[in-house]
């Protein structure tokens, strides 16, 4: 049940949105990397921008033997190091830190939850948080079921206020495990209490896809098979596996990137206009896209794994030499695939998705390539010399939208492609909030639009699990097959060339 919007008569006409009701956020895995690098800096910045109510509190849950003061100092350092607003403002921090506590315990230890319940009740009384809670699972994924079960067993899944739970990625590693996890979570919480994070959805430029499509009248009429030749979605990373080698080797690019981030982008470009901008209306349309995707075959995929090479001019090791990775690893660090959406809007339009590590540039973009002009009336320029119109939605780093079209070269009879660029950063001089800021705030406000629903996660896994199985059962690949610092395996270029198309040069 979503919290009813409070009828605060002073809200009308205020230029920032509503603040959530006071609540306590319990972070499981509070001594970990995510908490320091993303979560607490995001919460602090929300406080700094007056988006959090007085009384807002944080309880960090982890095993280490830390005191409240030690924990606060550590978080302060973490914010100093990671916040987009720079080092903390001491007075603001002092007030924010009053609401932070550390709760020591192991996830499987029942007593730790009994004392957690007492602690939360005490905070309710002292800080006016009225039983409102967010449980944030920033833990290794195998701890999710334990924590959920313990919360249920200790009556913490419901309160006299509202209770919500945020679950980090990865949500399962195939269809069966995602279904099992959903079943466990939903045996304790209702679906509307569950917020599955895909931090891509928290990025402003990703949200802008919907605004661009549905707040402008001129694009929607051509957003279909009559006018679009194909769509390319690219998420390229320059980094390797860093120190997540051990985890990554059990996962791979399809699970780590395609199943969540690229599928989300696919849904947003391909979905039908929702009848209203509301959590379920939007997610219903996204699920419809996933359901319409034609079952994938392994022949529509290309895998790669990087070997030694260079990044930023420095030599880097190959994937199999990374820490925590098996020297004979068959895990893919690159995937390209083609899919079709069998509905009236998209029938016959291929969507090419690719994502990889150790590629030459960090870039995420969606490119809509339109069909060529039907006939060429300018005698000197053969039709196939013309670049097609491309609308590129750039998600990072240089957020913006560009449109490529043909124009006459001054003084000559030639036609040349020119690009019309809209850059987010240049047109709006304010810095965008971090994805986690938006997502944490939305969760506290009870808005699930930017979180993934159960059926979304499962439908996406249902599409990709057969590929994972076929790969696992198939012959071993001749890995590594691309050099670190290149645009992926040659097979990926051949793959798209077979359709008479090519990857965008980014």
């Amino acid at each position: 049940m979503a919290t009813p919007v409070l009828d605060n008569p002073l809200r009308a006409g205020l230029r920032i949105g509503r603040t959530p009701e006071p609540c306590t956020m319990v972070i499981f895995g509070a001594s970990g990397d995510l908490t320091s690098r993303k979560l607490v800096p995001a919460l602090y910045n929300l406080a700094r921008e007056r988006r959090l109510p007085g009384g807002f509190s944080v309880v960090g849950f982890a095993r280490r033997d830390w005191s409240d003061d030690y924990f606060r100092d550590l978080l302060r350092e973490a914010v100093n190091a990671n916040s987009r607003s720079g080092p903390v403002d001491p007075e603001l921090w002092a007030s924010f830190a009053q609401g932070i506590q550390y709760h020591r315990g192991s996830f499987d230890e029942a007593d730790a939850y009994t004392s957690l319940a007492e602690r939360l009740a005490a905070i309710d009384a002292e800080r006016g948080t009225g039983g409102n809670r967010v449980f944030y699972l920033a833990t290794p994924p195998d701890a999710y079921p334990t924590i959920v079960a313990q919360l249920g067993a200790h009556g913490l899944a419901h309160s006299n206020g509202w209770t919500r739970i945020i679950i980090e990625k990865p949500f399962g590693h195939d269809l069966a495990s995602a279904q099992a996890l959903n079943a466990e979570v939903l045996s304790v919480f209702r679906e509307d209490q569950v917020y599955r994070i895909d931090h891509y959805l928290g990025k402003e430029t990703v949200q802008n896809i919907l605004i661009f499509r549905f707040a402008n009248g001129i694009f929607e009429p051509i957003w279909n098979r009559s006018h679009i030749d194909h769509v390319q979605i690219t998420v390229a990373e320059t980094i390797g596996v860093e120190d997540r080698g051990g985890y990554y080797d059990t996962s791979g690019a399809l699970r780590d990137m395609i199943q969540n981030h690229l599928m989300q982008l696919l849904c947003l470009v391909a979905m039908e206009p929702p009848s209203l901008y509301d959590a379920d209306a939007v997610r219903d349309e996204k699920v419809k896209v996933l359901r319409a995707v034609r079952p994938l075959s392994v022949n529509d995929t290309v895998r790669g794994q990087y070997g030694p090479g260079s990044a930023n001019g420095l030599p880097v090791r190959g994937y199999r030499e990374e820490k925590g990775v098996s020297p004979a690893s068959q895990t893919e660090t690159y995937v390209a695939l083609k899919l079709f959406i069998d509905n009236w809007r998209w029938a016959g339009v291929p969507f090419y998705l690719r994502s990889g590590k150790r590629l030459p540039r960090r870039v995420s973009e969606i490119a809509i390539q339109f069909k060529a002009a039907p006939t060429m009336i300018f005698a000197d320029t053969p039709l196939n010399d013309l670049d097609p119109n491309v609308l590129a939605i750039k998600i990072q780093p240089d957020e913006g939208i560009s449109l490529k079209f043909s124009s006459k070269t001054p003084g000559q009879p030639q036609i040349r492609p020119v690009t019309m660029d809209f850059r987010y950063g240049a047109s709006f001089g304010v810095t965008s909030p971090e994805a986690y800021e938006r997502l944490l705030l939305d969760c506290m406000l009870g808005d699930g639009t930017l979180f993934t629903r159960r059926d979304e996660v499962e439908t996406s896994w249902a599409l990709l699990t057969p590929i994972l199985q076929a790969w696992a059962e198939g012959p071993p690949q001749p890995f590594p097959n691309y050099e670190a610092g290149s645009w992926g395996p040659a097979a990926a270029d051949e793959f798209i060339a077979r359709d008479g198309r090519s990857w965008r040069r980014l």
Binding site: L6, D7, N8, P9, L10, R11, A12, G13, L14, R15, I16, R18, T19, P20, E21, P22, A47, R48, E49, R50, P53, G54, G55, D89, E91, L92, A94, S95, F96, A125, E126, R127, G128, G130, D398, D421, R423, G425, A426, S427, F428, G429, V430
Partner: protein, 379 residues
Amino acid sequence: MSEAAIDINAIERELRQMWQEQATHPDAGGQAVIRALTLNLIVRAPDDGWAEQALAVAPALTAQHPNRTVIVIDRPGPATELQANAQALCTLANAGRTQVCGEQVTISARGAPAGQLASLVLPLLVPDLPVVLWAPGPQPFAQPLVQRLYRLCDRLIVDSTTFADPLRELAELAAFEQTANGAPAVSDLGWTRLTSWRELTAQFFDTRPFLPHLHRIDEIVIEYAAGNRPNPVAALLFVGWLASCLKWTPLEDAVGIEGETIQIYLRRPAVGVGPAAIRLVSVAIRPVDRAGVEGLARLALRAVDNQQAEFVVELTSDAGHACTRATIAGAHPIERTATIDRPALADLLNSELRLLSRDRTFAAALHLAGGLARRLALP
């Protein structure tokens, strides 16, 4: 220079040339220079000081609202004097980012009739873009140039903190806003400065258990920083805002000044009794000595009937933050420190330029505050 020396076409040519130079300038570093103007801003500057301020905020305005600014320095004088010059201005390009550029034209005049000035300004406006007129300084509505231009504008921006006779001019502002009825939309930077105070006040009542107290407020005390020329406009607008949101109506003959304190009584609907019952809210607005602070310094909302509750927002002693405190009888007070913007002129303007139409919340607050000011300004 004689008036014939101003050639609009020459100014346009000059601007076009500047764009071309920008595009080929070595400092552009291969980065495209983008001309993406989003509005026309006419500044009616009463003197050189305001013209300088307008030029000083131009880079910050350009960064968010690339615009063509036409600054008219409209000085009084017996002899007519007129000259004009143009420049293009680009915001500092961050490494790897596109530059954003805007344009400025300055028309420096003395003793020129409004009609003549208007005939220079109008052809300089970029077609099909909104026109905003910013008229800082006292008595904006008495200026012939403003009277001449406002009908052609989408928005008129004034600043009540620069009023010379605050109560009287506030009443004029309210009357103007009502007659204009959105054409043009009216902005007051004095109101914009209240945004943080309104936000912090409203936020108390996003908390469900606090909301009922909002309908039982009996007493409001507002303190504002005053130097030698107290300007209670911000406080009156704040009261106007609360009253219009909460459907309170002023008791017309119970508005007065006692010493330096403005005392106001408003009727509010009573809660939980018969429909005809009303209660009174008493409001005291008083100046306090706070060096280095402009505008509000502290406000307290109190409910005394039934359950006692108090909501306070006040500047901390260094004035860098605000402390908010909610005290409900029988519970721990809930306190926090929050940032409070002391926005620069450019931030205030940017925030008004972002609005596309009439700010109805402001209009309602202004209407009420204007009525109060009219009573208070009576001899």
